[in-house]
Symmetry: D2
Subunit: 348 residues, 4 copies
């Protein structure tokens, strides 16, 4: 099979550069162009010296015609708002796209606009785009031209809750997602609040009850439940670079043993090579998944309160962004879903 | 007023040494003896070189008669189980005691035994001891001979929830406490899991639904509510040294505005110099309280889910341990409650 | 003795806010005004919520006449270049000043200009200013109107080398200072390079052989040596907030035992309450001094290479900035040199 | 070409597990057995849950005959002292060995014994072993049965200095190596000093002028120089997990431009795919190499002091341990030297 020629828009943000790093070791990918508005004309290793042994990689300005003509797939790693301006131009030229922003993750333009605070410039394209969570939408992804790659927090939350929701085992109004993320989630922006001295030794909650990812989680769980869901989601900023740990609480609708639920998850994820379940008494930690495309899920049952407490861990830059984008690409091009993607977290 | 002569048992653990650090700058305290089983005979600065300018401080073996005769107050910073063996000996000699372990925090020996897993050696002393949370029990503390200094997590959780529970504004069965703590909370033990390389860059949940502090929180909130309370409490280990951030979820029993609740808290804590409330739109972070004896509390209302989400921050070594112990001492000896205690977090 | 009324210019940078934090617990200081160009009009606790219990403190715009009339001492914590514009105005009004920038640390305008890259606007004032390292210049500081508070790296390097240089025991051409600093040293600026994700898990050398502090160290050691000194100084950025560790190498000019040198240091620093020496086999670490105004010094002799290797630790925000500024104030106003200054590092 | 069957002794230390992680993605390696004295009988994922998707990997007790019969190469990642007891047994059975301890890195038993403090049990084997730094000894490694894999610090220091020493451009008596390492360098031991709370926010120098790696660096540079070399080497413990940054000082013997030296290095390392040089004005940082097998080298010239200051960065677990061990294996078995080894640091 020939190589897939790809280009990346927004390749020098943290999400973009991690995607590029993973693409460079994918056996079936040839990078056509890396674009960066801020650093166009520079060598990639000027911006990220870890690429010093790849001196030949350069950063370009965007030329829609050129990249549409020469790329089978374009990854867009731009801020929301910027994506929805450029993607329609690529879409009309027939190129396939995986967008890492929030702009094409929604079914309902109304919900998008409520949570993002501005009108969607091309609401009709939302009907054409597919939510790129392979564990739930693999068949649609295969034939999609435009994939909205899921947010980092939603990836973690949806994968953890999907089997329970799909099987109507928990009360949807009881769901509370307390999520903790590394600082790469905020991107490579400069702001006082992201300074080392402000983040190190600290943790903070932010956007309490108002974070946009709430609506993305509610959309996908609502689809599985067959009804509207409203839940509580609280993100926290951790003094680490990578990873999301989500601690999730829900009330059980019937009495279930650990093994009942474990079996249910195993069945639900039998074709999901990137989801791993923990045995009783064990729970995921970020270090187990950092650097990998895995989502690790564990849980405990609390008979005193009739709650299930689930803990899941992903690397926000891999399964929560660039790794999942490549997983989507693999599916779109008929490759093995796991190709070129790390299964093994770094631990250290 | 003359100086209060105090001794510290278990002075070289992380809780103990922070207590000693704070005691050295208390204007009305004279340290009689610091005891350390592991380092008796050494100079304190051999173990903690930050004390190099206090070369004269030495560490001793425990001599019950000697310290009882020469101390007006003994702080015991020993592991639970060890405290309850030694404290009765001191108690019978009439010395006043602030115990930092879990051994004398409970009203019910039965509940203690259920959560700690062994019989309390002197259950009758539980009737004599006072739970040392000054914001709730100041009058009892004034005249107590034996104070059970609260746990770090319970200090944070109880102070945050007390006004709502006391005023019956939330459904107690809905309470979920998702707490995140720095690694000093685990003490100066050596175990692989506390190694720098295991903790840095990581976060983990532990003792999910089984942590002992659950019962301590339930006891105190139950007293305020006038009924038994069962809640969910999940502790997490953060890659930081000091501080606890608690994110707390509860369902409101009636419709209340931010200002209603803010006013309620202000009134509830009008005599509490170490509790600070945040205005709407702001939330505590650990860096704001680190190094201080403050408990910072903020909250947001989510009308979509009818929940209140509260966030509180303390320094687990100060308000969550040694600082609160000194606050108790101040109250026991009729001093200003704030004497010798830092009001101002370090931030950096 | 009455309170000293002080004002702080540039109070919301990292250096400024730490100075303010220390001033608030000084028993003989009353803060008149805190100025902040960026946040004038706001409450200090809006910018630094650790000050929430001091809600009444407000930030002002600079009004030279007002602060000169109402302050006995003004601390200027402004960037170099900005200080030398404002200080002459204050100086002419007769107010005493401790400047934390590099603008008034030099004897020679020529050397200043070579290393700072621009003409000094008021070179004649350099003759009036005193280098505020109390361990070397206490008598001059007592009567100074204008004190140039030393840089953080120079404080650490000069105190560590002074006894050897003053006694001509090392070859000045052999001196190499390899210094490692926490990120607060870079101030509260926003730049990609200071983002948490760029600093955490990393260390880098910067300004190799060109850092301005080189010239400050050379000036002071040159004065002690009675000859020009040229040395190598390499700063590094550590993934920590506070503290400088300097590892210093020099060739011994004669054979000396550990005790010979230890005795020499003890004598040299007999009146220096903030310098502590380590016994043989022990060396300072940053955690021993963090939060204190101490400079800890230790050393080892290497007979194989005939070198002495010295290690010193300070808190760059305290002894390296605001703490030393207060120490200078104490001396200028005839107070005990240690008043209001922490002697005891936090360790945790 | 068939797969190389390998076994690993000491596979659950930090060095061992990183080697295993890298081996699992090597296209020409089949792991026969992983041995672990502490965890024999357990699944690898019980000890390192990042291996949860490789549930089938088990840990065994050592059976010399079995592994010698079934492995073409054995990696020994044991403490020094332990290696030299077991390796002779394997050696006599003809199996090829890469030893990651210090036991087989030396030419002279006398020097080994001076720095390690005990008699080498099999000094005659030192004549049979090869120092496994491929950039200097590739031809010997090709045919070696026993390779002593270099220490982490020596890898960094020797690669950085070799071209200057081999070309006699610096004064060997002037060499000072100030090295900073992440905490994985200390292994997975438990000791108070390696606790998160002791390491975080701190840096310390240790084993000043007495660290064993000094002798390893001196041996290899001495070979290149054709004379004995004595140098100063100071290791520091950083609050990071991975990586070594070495800042190296030396006096130039003649006047050389940046380009002269850059050209010299380029030529010296023209066949070294894992050494990268930095252009003028740029210097390596740990984040650029973390996760890769690269050694990045940069330098600055200081005409004021006639010194060259070099900075190099490696990942101590990869180029400083397991990655280099695999590089040696590749050479020993005639594979491409870079096979299965990451060229691209993680940055984030």
């Amino acid at each position: 099979m020939p190589m897939i020629q790809v280009s990346v828009l927004g390749s020098t943000g943290y999400g973009g550069i991690e995607l590029v790093r993973l693409l460079t070791s994918h056996p079936k990918v040839k990078i056509y162009k890396l674009m960066s508005h801020s650093y166009a004309g520079k060598s990639l290793s000027d911006v990220y010296p870890n690429f010093i042994a790849h001196e030949d990689i350069c950063l370009s300005e965007l030329d829609i015609d050129d990249i549409a003509d020469n790329s089978q797939l374009v990854f867009t790693s731009l801020p929301h708002g910027a994506s929805s301006k450029i993607i329609p131009l690529l879409y009309e030229k027939g190129v396939r796209i995986v967008d890492l922003s929030g702009d094409f993750r929604y079914i309902s333009a109304k919900i998008f606009e409520k949570w993002y605070g501005y009108k969607h410039p091309r609401p009709e394209l939302l009907q054409e785009s597919t939510y790129g969570l392979p564990e739930l939408h693999k068949e649609d992804i295969k034939k999609a031209q435009l994939v909205g790659n899921p947010g980092c927090y939603p990836t973690s939350a949806i994968l953890t809750l999907a089997p329970l929701i799909a099987n109507q085992l928990i009360d949807p109004t009881s769901i509370i997602i307390d999520a903790k993320s590394g600082a790469t989630g905020a991107g490579r922006a400069t702001s006082v609040g992201l300074n080392f001295c402000e983040v190190d030794g600290n943790i903070k909650a932010y956007n309490v009850s108002t974070h946009r990812h709430t609506s993305e989680i509610e959309q996908e769980l609502g689809l599985l439940a067959g009804r509207d869901i409203k839940l509580s989601f609280t993100p926290h900023l951790l003094p680490i670079k990578r990873g999301i740990l989500s601690t999730i609480y829900a009330s059980l609708l019937k009495s279930l043993s650990f093994n009942d639920i474990y079996t249910l998850y195993t069945k639900f994820y039998k074709d999901a090579p990137f989801v791993s379940l923990y045995l009783e008494g064990k729970l995921p930690e970020i270090k187990y998944v950092r650097g990998s495309n895995q989502c690790h899920i564990g849980f405990a049952l609390d008979s005193r309160t009739n709650r299930i407490i689930l803990v899941s861990a992903i690397d926000n830059l891999v399964k929560g962004a660039g790794g999942q984008a490549i997983q989507n690409m693999n599916i779109m091009f008929g490759l093995d879903e796991t190709m070129g993607l790390p299964q093994l977290g770094w631990y250290l």
